[in-house]
Symmetry: C2
Subunit: 253 residues, 2 copies
């Protein structure tokens, strides 16, 4: 049985808590948060605390806190030589205080408090300072049914950047399509199957191979008509930049 | 039983043929293509022709041909007052020769010849010049198990533009993430669940509500670090423009 103590109460902390709680080979030993009221409603199912001095022994302490709090919280931990991990995509493993054994447990996914999530489909990026802890970290991911990938800090920061393109920027393109279609009283539902299929297609085909459309074909007539249709200068700039990017990828200049 | 004749042999034509062929209330009467060899392998299951004068009676003639060929092919049809539809997202219904009754049957989805597609999940955008044909067009979509939406030409052109943002541009963001992660020897598979979840999230939440990340939070430190990480000037420009767009949407300037 693996014992885990969670620190923090953001989206990742909540999802991790639920996932560990449901994992049969894991016990959540304690849940710490500076602001007690954020976790108090869980007091009947786990030992909830707001005082670091009350932290008991656990196989791993997982800090799911904001990037800026990781270094200071790791310094404030009142013990040494135990295993401490953070869950951030962008913070170096060396930002953790070296009085403890250090690790990273970064679940690469978008977390919202409301959205239900099948945790077992989330890839976990793992890093350790002590090689001996690598297998333990893999076992921990495995206990959640997740695939684990050994990823160093530089790669992890690159993944975090890639995730901004894939999640935040993609979502903004959805938003722009929503604005454009709303302006003509079009039900956004019509576009939802296309959103799904666009994502599904690259699960077993490279994005390069999956590309279609006027930019890929260098269809100047359609591109010109689209630019005439777009009312917002901002949307026009995005259309032009991404069209140029597709053309460059597919060798039109 | 509805009889359908298909004209053309592009991706949409192939997928439509397969979908109509499998629909129990539809018979594919004939399949016409100017270049016979493109459809000759279907000769044993449907009447394949390359001569317009051989076209027989059908309830509807669906032209799934390139945008530029629609007007000329509709003029070349050797009959009058029958129901003729095109499948384009951007061509006006009035580009069809008015000697026939005109309609549009636009399946809003991305089509690749190789990718298997569940046709019943595709929204069909319908337009007619004769109101009496509206129900027939709906029945035709229904025969494929598809949802039908009455969409006029201007709305359809807006949908086509929106689809470029949602499909082509989103796919290019996947491509950029692929390039960025490849450069650090990262397995692209790690990013695939995030691609799916990003799409899934907006199936029951607006893109506005679904947004997360550094631009949404106006997290200048992370944005600055990301810009430093990006090696290509082109990717940097895209990062900056989409970050500014998200900030604008969420009221940071």
């Amino acid at each position: 049985m693996i014992t885990v103590t969670i620190l923090g109460a953001g989206n990742v902390a909540f999802h991790l808590y639920k996932a560990f709680k449901n994992a049969k080979d894991v016990t959540v030993k304690q849940w710490y948060n500076r602001t007690y009221s954020d976790i108090s409603s869980y007091a009947n199912e786990v030992d909830t605390i707001d005082d670091l001095s009350k932290l008991e022994d656990a196989d791993i302490y997982i800090m799911a806190v904001s990037d800026d709090s990781i270094a200071s919280l790791s310094r404030a931990l009142p013990f040494e030589n135990r295993l401490v991990a953070h869950t951030s995509g962008s913070v170096s493993i060396h930002d953790l205080d070296k009085k403890n054994q250090r690790a990273v447990f970064y679940p690469l996914q978008t977390f919202s408090k409301d959205a239900e999530l099948n945790f077992s489909e989330i890839p976990i990026c793992i890093e350790v300072t002590e090689k001996a802890n690598l297998q333990f970290m893999k076992d921990l991911a495995d206990a959640l049914g997740c695939s684990a990938y050994k990823i160093n800090t530089e790669q992890r920061q690159t993944l975090h950047l890639s995730a901004v393109f894939i999640n935040n920027f993609t979502n903004q393109l959805y938003r722009i399509a929503h604005e454009i279609s709303d302006a003509k009283s079009i039900n956004f539902d019509i576009l939802k199957p296309l959103i799904m299929e666009t994502a599904r297609k690259v699960q077993d085909m490279s994005p390069y191979m999956a590309q279609t459309g006027p930019a890929k074909r260098n269809d100047k007539k359609t591109i010109k008509r689209h630019l005439k249709q777009i009312e917002s200068e901002e949307h026009k700039a995005i259309y032009e930049l991404l069209t140029a990017s597709i053309k460059k990828t597919h060798n039109y200049r």
